[in-house]
């Protein structure tokens, strides 16, 4: 594997995990009353989370299209664990596409509503659910990634 592909794979994992951590931080702050300081934090951290997911998408996509599909996928499919690709990779590569859109909605709400979010409790509660789903889906993506790389190592 070339250095560029190694860099893409490692960065994809790192940035994906970073995105999850950042949205977890967003979620924790959302449970507190939103003031000027906290909305500033929510805006910056959620934007960084969105950028992390978008970067992870591009880098993971490059690795997937150039290397995984041609080299790793056939090996996993011929191994004792073909389900690691046919179920987990197939699901991961498509469910991942939800994350940037969900994250973008959260970012826009923080930037547009700002501190008003505290007065709009109905919206705040649904943003808490949205942020929780981003963290949960991100964690599912990370876990499926572990299953796939495990299958590639054990083949």
């Amino acid at each position: 594997m070339s250095v560029l592909l190694q860099f893409s794979l490692i960065s994809h994992i790192f940035l994906g995990l970073l995105g999850i951590i950042l949205f977890y931080a967003v979620l924790m702050v959302l449970f507190k009353p939103i003031d000027f300081k906290r909305i500033k934090f929510l805006r910056r951290v959620s934007l960084l989370g969105l950028i992390s997911f978008l970067s992870s998408w591009i880098l993971g996509g490059y690795y997937y299209v150039v290397y995984y599909g041609n080299i790793v996928k056939p090996l996993i499919k011929k191994s004792a664990y073909p389900w690691a690709h046919s179920i987990f990779m197939e699901a991961k590569e498509h469910i991942f596409l939800f994350l940037p859109f969900a994250a973008l909605v959260a970012v826009l709400i923080f930037y547009i509503l700002g501190e008003e979010l505290e007065q709009k409790q109905a919206i705040k509660k649904t943003v808490i659910i949205l942020s929780s789903l981003i963290v949960i889906l991100g964690a599912i993506m990370a876990l499926t990634g572990i299953i796939i790389s495990g299958a590639a190592r054990l083949r």
């Binding site: 469910i95 596409l97 859109f101 826009l108 109905a122 789903l133 889906l137 599912i140």
Partner: protein, 106 residues
């Protein structure tokens, strides 16, 4: 001013909802109807790249046209449509996982 803020948020949520529905639909359709998968490969070099680009395009188009929808978004309407997005994220995840489990077992 508040109405304008709500309208931008409403349009973005509509775009995200359309993108999530599209991703689920094209994922299932392209696996069941191979000419669609081949078309995605031919046009975008890889079916997954095609799904990503098309979902971004659908998000953009629906956001744009969502702005012109003759509705007055309120706090309650934003809550309802955001709840719909949350449910679609859950159901979309289950649908995609379920579909690939079914495909692997059949």
């Amino acid at each position: 001013m508040e109405n304008k803020k709500f309208k931008i948020i409403h349009s973005a949520i509509c775009g995200a909802i359309a993108a999530v529905i599209f991703i689920v639909a094209i994922t299932v359709a392209a696996d069941l109807y191979l000419p669609l998968k081949d078309w995605l490969k031919n046009v975008f070099s890889h079916h997954w790249v095609g799904k990503g680009i098309l979902s971004l395009a659908i998000f953009g188009v629906v956001c744009f046209f969502g702005w012109f929808l003759p509705i007055e978004p309120s706090e309650e309407k934003i809550r309802k449509i955001l709840n719909l997005l949350n449910w679609l994220l859950i159901l979309g995840t289950l649908a995609i996982f379920g579909f690939f489990v079914w495909e692997a077992l059949k």
